[in-house]
């Protein structure tokens, strides 16, 4: 069965330091992967998707099929990056989410 694993519940990073939020998945087909973000008192929203190969708010994520990973990275953390981040996998019409990682940017 398809599964999304985010091993870190909480990640604390100093402002200006690099950020990497880990996401591993298990899926037998060709996955479609997303990162969603929830800022304090805001709705859960899409951050980026692997198919677009885009950089949003300085974040990027590369799909590594060999390692079945889709880690989210940013070279220099900013205080406004503090939020809850969810990795998600789409299979047909189902979207499966990981348990989420809370990113805390330290001043």
């Amino acid at each position: 069965a398809q599964r999304v694993t985010q091993p870190e519940k909480l990640l604390s990073v100093f402002k200006g330091a690099p950020v990497e939020l880990k996401c591993n998945y298990s899926y037998s087909g060709s996955p479609e992967l997303f990162w969603y973000v929830q800022y304090s008192r805001q709705r859960l929203q899409l951050l980026l998707r692997h198919i677009s190969r885009e950089s949003i708010k300085g974040f990027t994520a590369d799909l590594n099929k060999g390692e079945t990973s889709f880690h989210l990275k940013k070279p220099f953390a900013q205080e406004e990056d503090s939020a809850m981040y969810y990795c998600a996998l789409t299979r047909d019409d189902k979207i499966i989410f990981g348990k989420g990682t809370r990113l805390h940017i330290l001043p």
């Binding site: 985010q6 519940k9 479609e32 997303f34 969603y36 709705r43 859960l44 929203q45 899409l46 998707r49 198919i51 969810y86 998600a88 789409t90 047909d92 019409d93 189902k94 979207i95 499966i96 989410f97 990981g98 348990k99 989420g100």
Partner: protein, 115 residues
């Protein structure tokens, strides 16, 4: 523009009482609709999804049910609430007949407390 409405925002219900949470979408047709439960440490758990009127897929056996009486209306229900039904419920929609390249748009959520 497309919007999603979910209500009520908060709800306190006694054990054994019925439940009805409603979600409606505007500005799009034939969306895929989803109910999730969000819990600390457990992430977003997919409860139900629907690809069309009257079509409901259940992901997790539980005390809840879902219905889609209209194209852009999705209802989460229970005949008799349990304490374990307490949680934060999120409705979401995706565009088109497939979620490929279609991100989810979430409502504001309903905080349900069963007492």
């Amino acid at each position: 523009s497309q919007t999603i409405h979910q209500w009520p925002a908060t709800l306190v219900q006694p054990v054994g009482s019925p439940l009805s949470l409603e979600c409606t979408v505007e500005g799009t047709s034939n969306p895929n609709l989803y109910w999730y439960r969000q819990a600390a440490g457990r992430g977003l758990q997919l409860l139900f999804y629907s690809v069309g009127i009257g079509q409901i897929s259940s992901e997790v056996p539980q005390n809840l049910s879902a219905s889609r009486p209209q194209d852009r209306q999705f209802i989460l229900s229970s005949k008799k609430l349990l304490l374990s039904d307490s949680g934060f419920y999120l409705c979401a929609y995706g565009q088109g007949s497939s979620s490929y390249n279609s991100p989810l748009h979430f409502g504001n959520g309903t905080r349900l407390t069963v007492t």
